[in-house]
């Protein structure tokens, strides 16, 4: 399943709003309703996938909590194991919550994009998606350590 940045890059490429431009003349690509419908479909799929993924992560978080609590209970007299398990639990929770936060951000972005794609005229929606990608999604995915386009 493609990342949000990948989905938006494909859409922007298809409407000539991604990548490098030559110095010569080029015909202006008019954004059609069909282009936006394709993107809405891709975002819908990704959104569903993310929702399921969040459930899986939350389940994993619960299992982790139960396992760690059991370990803490069984080794409650061993200070080293206690601290070790407690530290590992904190660290793994920190990682998972960071991941959840990213997913939550992605899902919100997709929700907004879907609303815009369905409610605004194609050109205006495309302008919004371009700005959203270049101002937020690209910088956010770069911060998350993924290389995007270009």
């Amino acid at each position: 399943m493609k990342q949000l940045s990948g989905i938006l890059e494909d859409y922007l490429s298809s409407i000539d709003r991604f990548g490098e431009l030559g110095l010569g003349e080029r015909p202006r690509r008019v954004v059609k309703k069909n282009d936006n419908q394709h993107l809405a479909k891709a975002l819908d799929q990704r959104l569903k996938f993310n929702k399921h993924f969040v459930v899986v992560i939350l389940m994993f978080l619960c299992i982790l909590f139960v396992v760690a609590t059991s370990f803490l209970f069984f080794y409650r007299h061993d200070v080293k194991v206690f601290y070790g398990v407690f530290g590992a639990l904190l660290l793994s929770n920190f990682g998972i919550i960071k991941w959840l936060r990213q997913l939550w951000w992605e899902m919100n972005t997709m929700d907004i994009s879907l609303y815009v794609l369905r409610e605004l005229p194609p050109e205006e929606a495309a302008a919004f998606i371009s700005r959203l990608y270049w101002d937020f999604v690209r910088s956010s995915s770069r911060r998350a350590g993924k290389s995007v386009g270009g």
Binding site: E20, L21, L23, G24, A127, D135
Partner: protein, 204 residues
């Protein structure tokens, strides 16, 4: 009497690159406000910055170290002033649309550009502008001392050509060569590398 440009040894100090396209964020924003075509095609600063401004900022020191003169935000008048004999080669980085070149002060059509280029100029105009057929044809008739290099096949993207010119000026600095010889060597080398990359892509 100076030999013709086709036989003259050219060094980077005798060359100037004139940018009609914006090379910094404020210039891009200004072009956007003025609804200039090239900036409007890019629409967003982040996109333009990634493909043009950041590349220019990265390569500018190398070009200056080589001794090349760089003129940014060039207007039609300033472009014309570059043909006063101080330089052997004038390279123009600009956007071309409907038989017009977009300078910092807007589009200029072929007759206006021809008028600005002094008839006595005995050098080379390197047009890093896509498909400027009518400009080349007009200059060949009106300015017979002028040698013109232009692009017809390749899509001129600023990033590709900026790197190309760094290589070209490095070659000119290190060799006793005419501009045309350097162009030929570098173009052959570039095509060889592109073929090699494309060839290796087939197997990966």
């Amino acid at each position: 009497m100076r030999p013709p440009i086709s036989q003259r040894i050219v060094k980077p100090e005798n060359c100037v690159i004139a940018f009609g396209i914006p090379t910094c964020a404020p210039a891009f924003q200004r072009h956007l406000t003025l609804k200039r075509d090239f900036a409007s095609n890019y629409m967003l600063l982040q996109r333009y910055s990634l493909y043009v401004i950041s590349v220019f900022d990265k390569l500018k020191p190398a070009l200056l170290d080589l001794g090349v003169q760089i003129q940014t935000d060039v207007t039609l008048k300033q472009f014309g002033d570059l043909f006063d004999g101080k330089f052997d080669v004038v390279i123009l980085f600009a956007h071309w649309l409907n038989d017009q070149v977009e300078f910092d002060d807007g589009f200029a059509d072929v007759p206006k550009i021809v008028v600005e280029i002094k008839s006595g100029f005995n050098g080379l105009l390197d047009l890093c502008v896509c498909h400027p057929r009518n400009l080349v044809a007009a200059l060949q008739v009106e300015r017979q001392n002028l040698l013109i290099k232009s692009l017809y096949q390749e899509r001129a993207t600023p990033r590709l050509w900026l790197y190309f010119y760094v290589a070209l000026f490095t070659y000119l600095r290190d060799h006793q060569a005419t501009y045309l010889q350097a162009l030929e060597v570098l173009t052959v080398e570039m095509h060889r590398k592109i073929r090699r990359v494309k060839g290796s892509d087939k197997f990966t």
